[in-house]
């Protein structure tokens, strides 16, 4: 009994040190530890998001390669074996022999059948077990590509390589570029918008581009594989969604198309600089005062900047660029205590450096039990008598005011000044609404 008790104590004492890494300790997904010992029930694997994206791309078929669980439950996403435009969505379930000896022959045969059935572009989604047995599915798809006019590409969506599901977005968008087979000559008047341009500012940006004689190609929501060919002719990629950043990098590397990551900017200066870079790259004589939200955010900061000063906060929602948000809020002297980081990628290092340079080093974790976040906060240094804000729903923490997940998603869907305005406005509203925000 004493032994068990001592193990319990050891676990408690290890809790802060081991489970809650500081941001400075995070260099890869492996550094992001679970907030609690287990998840209830868990979160989606990257196969799920990979399928969700693939389903919305006209002309792309899919083949999930894995165990019965992957194959069976993935049909929650791909509920029909044949898509609206004849895409095929099949499953390859490894049998007990293939788990030991590999699935090369069977998988090649399966791809040939898909091609015979009419698939022209196939996203092969590799899950945990094929990744674990080290099957070289990339090589298998390349061999198939060499013998047919159809094209297959493999993405590694093994869940044990990360906690979250974000890589399903990143890798599918990037892999789509390899699937398209219609490279175009550069169109000097074509601008690619990687992500959906929503909100008033998004509409205005599109108008500016059109008024200046540019044709825009927008990749967001649903699109077709042909569009992936069209974007190879772009003069500039404006990256709206962080999920499209790896795609933009590939377009730069393979097609010499420069990109500007508009989604990276949260502060007025950063956003202004990004817009200016876009206008310079396209030789457009416009200025940022074109955007009404530019005035709005300026007024808000002039009047309310003090409200954010020293405000401690945590982020519980899935915010793909949470480190970018954190770096910006740091410029307003807000204090990050704990961040849920769904996935960490090497391009996020710049934000990490900025945050650390401000003298901030929040706990960084993968929250598996949001209802037990209060337990985590017991170990987080916080000043008394200050309100605590949560970006993302949070219950059970007295005096904490939270911006619910829906509102977090809302600001995340906007761009530029409007996005920042929405973010800060939402925080202010939450603070105002919380009558009992003092802890």
């Amino acid at each position: 009994m004493k032994e068990i008790e001592s193990r319990h104590n050891e676990s408690r004492s290890n809790f802060a040190n081991r489970k809650l890494n500081r941001l400075s300790e995070i260099n890869s997904n492996q550094g992001i530890k679970f907030s609690h010992s287990m998840a209830e029930p868990g979160s989606h694997c990257p196969m799920h998001t990979a399928l969700a994206v693939t389903q919305r791309v006209k002309g792309v078929s899919s083949l999930v390669v894995g165990m019965p669980e992957c194959g069976f439950y993935s049909r929650y996403v791909m509920d029909q074996p044949v898509g609206k435009h004849g895409e095929l969505h099949y499953v390859y379930v490894l049998d007990s022999n293939e788990v030991v000896f590999g699935c090369r022959d069977g998988l090649q045969e399966a791809l040939r059948i898909m091609i015979q059935d009419g698939a022209e572009a196939i996203m092969v989604i590799m899950t945990c077990i094929p990744a674990l047995i080290g099957e070289d599915i990339k090589e298998i798809t390349e061999e198939i590509n060499a013998e047919t006019s159809a094209k297959a590409v493999c993405i590694d969506m093994a869940h044990f390589k990360r906690n979250g599901y974000e890589s399903g977005f990143y890798e599918v968008y990037q892999a789509l570029l390899s699937l398209q087979q219609n490279n175009k000559q550069m169109e000097t008047h074509q601008v690619n918008l990687l992500g959906s341009l929503l909100g008033n500012e998004g509409v205005r940006l599109k108008e500016i581009l059109t008024e200046n004689g540019f044709q825009t190609v927008e990749l967001g929501g649903s699109f077709s594989l042909e569009d992936m060919g069209v974007i190879t002719a772009g003069r500039l990629n404006i990256v709206i969604s962080i999920h499209m950043l790896p795609l933009a990098r590939s377009l730069e590397k393979e097609y010499d198309i420069p990109y500007i990551f508009l989604g990276a900017g949260y502060s007025i200066d950063d956003i202004t600089e990004l817009y200016q870079s876009i206008f310079n790259a396209l030789e457009i004589k416009e200025c940022v005062s074109q955007f009404q939200s530019y005035e709005h955010i300026q007024s808000l900061l002039q009047e309310k900047a003090g409200s954010f000063n020293n405000l401690p906060y945590i982020a519980t929602a899935v915010i793909p660029d949470v480190l970018g948000v954190c770096a910006f809020l740091g410029t307003l002297s807000m204090k990050p205590l704990l961040l849920h980081v769904e996935e960490y990628n090497e391009w996020m290092k710049e934000w990490k450096t900025e945050i650390l340079a401000m003298g901030q080093n929040p706990y960084t974790t993968y929250i598996t039990k949001r209802e037990s976040v209060a337990q985590l906060l017991e170990q987080v240094d916080k000043e008394d008598n200050l309100p605590l804000l949560s970006l993302g729903s949070l219950k059970g923490v007295p005096g904490c005011c939270s911006v619910d997940d829906r509102k977090v998603r809302q600001f995340g869907s906007l761009i530029g000044y409007e996005r920042t305005h929405q973010l800060l406005n939402t925080i202010l509203h939450s603070l105002e609404e919380s009558e009992d925000a003092i802890i």
């Binding site: 010992s37 209830e40 669980e69 194959g71 044990f160």
Partner: protein, 383 residues
Amino acid sequence: MPLYKIVPESSGRMGLLWTLGAIKDAAILEFGSMGHMLYAEKWMSQTGLQKRSRLLSTHLDEKDIALGIVKRLEQSVQELAKDREIKALFILPSSVPEMIGIDIEAVCDQLKEDYTHLPIISLGAGNFKATKSQGIEEALYQLAKHFPNKNDDSNPRAATQSGLRTYNLIGSICDMARFNSDAREIRRIMKGAFHMEAICTLTSDTGVEELKYMGEADVSLVLRKEGVKAAKELERTFGVPYYYGAPYGYEGTLGWIKELETLLGIQAESEFVQRELEEGRYALEACKMMLSYRRDKAKIWIVGNDDIKQGVSSFAYGELRFRPEQGAILMANATKVKQEKQAFGIEIERTTESYNYNRYESPFMGFRGAMKLCSLWLDYLMD
């Protein structure tokens, strides 16, 4: 070659989870990638069962795999053992630990010694060949093996004290379309015909507490073949006899009652049985009449597990005069029913496309099930 153009077969691990996931105050922990449990939760949430097991996963990373580290599992069990609302903990096998050869059973044996107040059951049927059927059988067997009270001085259940005869209902699993309604119909018939009360319904309506009294039952009623092993275990350990068979159709239900009369040594309430038959006569006669008029449409094709296939076949092809042919009525799982748009589809097995929102849906088993089937088939015949 294991290429599937529609939903693939479910595995032994899924059979385990779907069976145990319905138990009210238990928890199921998977030492594996957590995406599976989220989907499993979605599956269970669509069954319409409001009280069921808690589903948890440890997740694992490359380091755990490379070094065979089981600390996540140990810490999770340690935490769950503190939760007094959890009355039993099932450790679900998962594909990655199976692949790398982690001996979960050995780890669990150690954990059982540490937490003696909590039943910790490590499950088999996790290998790469195990079918859903094997998983269900294993889960039911483990329940019969580990949970019934073996002490003679245990407090008898209230129903037993009051003199009511009791039974275990084994095999109501959420992979079947009408699993809940079928179990309710069996309980209604047992009450009406034999004045008997269910101790527990494995597993769609039971908690861990009820499982303790399985050994006190007068009989175990097994609705599907996967439950036979569990029933035999109860017979071996406690001397509880069992009857395996599911009542489909009027003749099938009467035959089922007759078998129970023999086994239990009592007569069913004839008034109840006659009333049920009388109530169903209208639909049955109408169905027979329409079948004689519309021989061109008198075709049913059944795709499902052996028990429902056999039961419905005997009603449709035997008692009524349908022909086992394709092209008219299709009784199959939800996905197949949706795909075969030309056929008149009736869902008999659940898939990812199934939603059991109406817990008072009519059954397919028993007298009311026969009436429901007649009315569904008439919809097609009269169209």
